[in-house]
């Protein structure tokens, strides 16, 4: 076992941070480290937090983290913001709401750009969850980008998924019925000091009444005012209830299998894309093939068949 891996397992911040960077950059060192780390994972409870822009996801994570720290638990936070499709750069600003946690040795926060992934997450997030888990974090929060309707990948990753909303979305709750309105284990109506909170809660509850398929568990709808630390203790209790529910119904194992399936697919996708576009004999040809498709000399399906045929033979 090399230094970086053994230091990660000891919980050393710099080694954790460095290994995350290597994983983000698809460095082979990271792939090898992950092989050692995987057997040491599985202890952390992974809580996904998703919701529209400005619904208070970062502030909620800050408050929830403080609550878990009071219980003596160690917390990891992965905060994802969008990468620019034009420059490839990103402005990662979720930490602003969490600065009081910056010097708490029991908290590790990492900001990540989506780096071209849709779905609200980023490609290396599975690795980062495993790294934080193996480093001894008890609770891992994953904050998605501010989502619209269809960015629902977080449910494959998280044990418990919170969907945050704010009052005043009004009819727009109707428009987001599918997608993110189907994935919550717990709904959180944040900024509950704003007008329209009763209506928002009522609309979500009526939605649950008509779509709820889990008969043995009613999806709770909680109200919070994160900035005033209100409703946080209740929310932590509901998260714990959900965890117990998963364990009691053996759904925990099923949920974890979903995560590993998603992770496996992502690793294979990355490797395959790398093989085709970076390492294969098509590396230099791709552009001219696209050019030929554009000039109608050949169609995209024929090109895809040709490339995959060469790769898989």
């Amino acid at each position: 076992m090399n230094d970086i891996t053994s230091n990660v397992l000891k919980g050393d911040s710099r080694s954790i941070a460095r290994l995350i960077t290597l994983a983000e950059n698809n460095d082979p060192i990271a792939a090898n480290a992950m092989k050692v780390i995987h057997p040491k994972t599985g202890n952390a409870h992974v809580i996904g937090i998703t919701g529209v822009m400005g619904s208070g996801k970062s502030t909620l994570i800050f408050e929830l983290s403080r609550e878990y720290r009071k219980k003596g638990l160690k917390v990891g936070i992965i905060a994802i913001d969008p990468t620019s499709p034009f420059s490839g750069g990103a402005l990662l600003g979720d930490r602003i709401r969490m600065m009081e946690l910056a010097t708490d040795a029991g908290v590790f926060i990492r900001s990540m750009g989506t780096r071209g992934m849709l779905g609200g997450l980023t490609s290396a997030v599975y690795d980062v969850v495993e790294i934080l888990d193996a480093s001894g974090k008890d609770i891992i929060f994953v904050e998605t980008v501010g989502v619209g309707q269809a960015e629902v990948d977080v449910i494959k990753l998280a044990d418990t998924t919170l969907v945050t909303l704010v009052p005043g979305l009004g009819d727009s709750i109707q428009t987001i019925k599918a997608g993110i309105m189907e994935i919550a284990d717990i709904y959180v109506v944040n900024k509950a000091d704003r007008p329209g909170v009763e209506q928002a809660v009522a609309e979500i509850e009526s939605l649950i009444d008509i779509t709820c398929s889990e008969k043995d568990r009613k999806i709770p709808v909680l109200t919070t005012i994160a900035k005033q630390s209100k409703g946080i203790v209740e929310l932590v209790n509901e998260i714990e209830n959900h965890k117990n529910y998963l364990k009691n119904t053996k759904m925990f194992e099923a949920q974890r299998k979903k995560r590993y399936e998603a992770e496996l697919i992502e690793i294979i996708r990355k490797r395959l894309m790398n093989l085709i576009f970076d390492e294969s004999i098509f590396k230099d040809k791709v552009e001219s093939l696209i050019d030929q498709i554009s000039k109608k000399k050949v169609d995209p399906y024929t090109v895809a068949d040709e490339i995959l045929g060469k790769i898989l033979k």
Binding site: S13, T21, N26, G89, A90, L91, R95, T103, I109
Partner: protein, 131 residues
């Protein structure tokens, strides 16, 4: 895959003027860097701890209050203590000319005052990033 340069932009101390820091953050983003922006009122401890966790290549400090000789130097001292000399430190804001050489000696490699073109900062970082 190309390695992205990660930059922490922080405003240490008591100074509420963050427009310059935001302009620079945006320019670095547009140059393809990943910029972690942590906002106002940072202590040296917060800056360095954040730099560790985010594994940044560069720290950009902005200060307009006049306390740069204390606060910038606190950050570089702490970086040295933690063995993080591989992080490039740059600073901006209202920095009198006579302070610049002292800051450079203390480990703030680049000083960028008002009127600096964003490209200049981008190029400086790309050229001087240490890893």
């Amino acid at each position: 895959m190309e390695r992205k340069i990660r930059v922490l932009i922080a405003k240490p101390g008591l100074d509420g003027h963050d427009r310059g820091a935001k302009v620079v953050a945006r320019a670095l983003r547009d140059a393809g860097m990943e910029v972690i922006y942590t906002g106002l009122h940072q202590t040296a401890d917060m800056v360095v701890e954040t730099a560790i966790q985010e594994d940044v290549d560069v720290i950009g400090l902005s200060l307009l209050s006049g306390a740069h000789m204390t606060l910038f130097v606190d950050v570089t001292k702490l970086l040295k203590q933690r063995g993080m000399q591989d992080v490039l430190v740059v600073g901006g804001g209202i920095i009198p000319e006579q302070d610049a050489p002292k800051l450079k000696k203390a480990g703030v490699s680049g000083i960028f005052g008002p009127g600096t073109h964003c490209d200049e900062i981008v190029n400086f970082i790309k050229k001087n990033v240490k890893r």
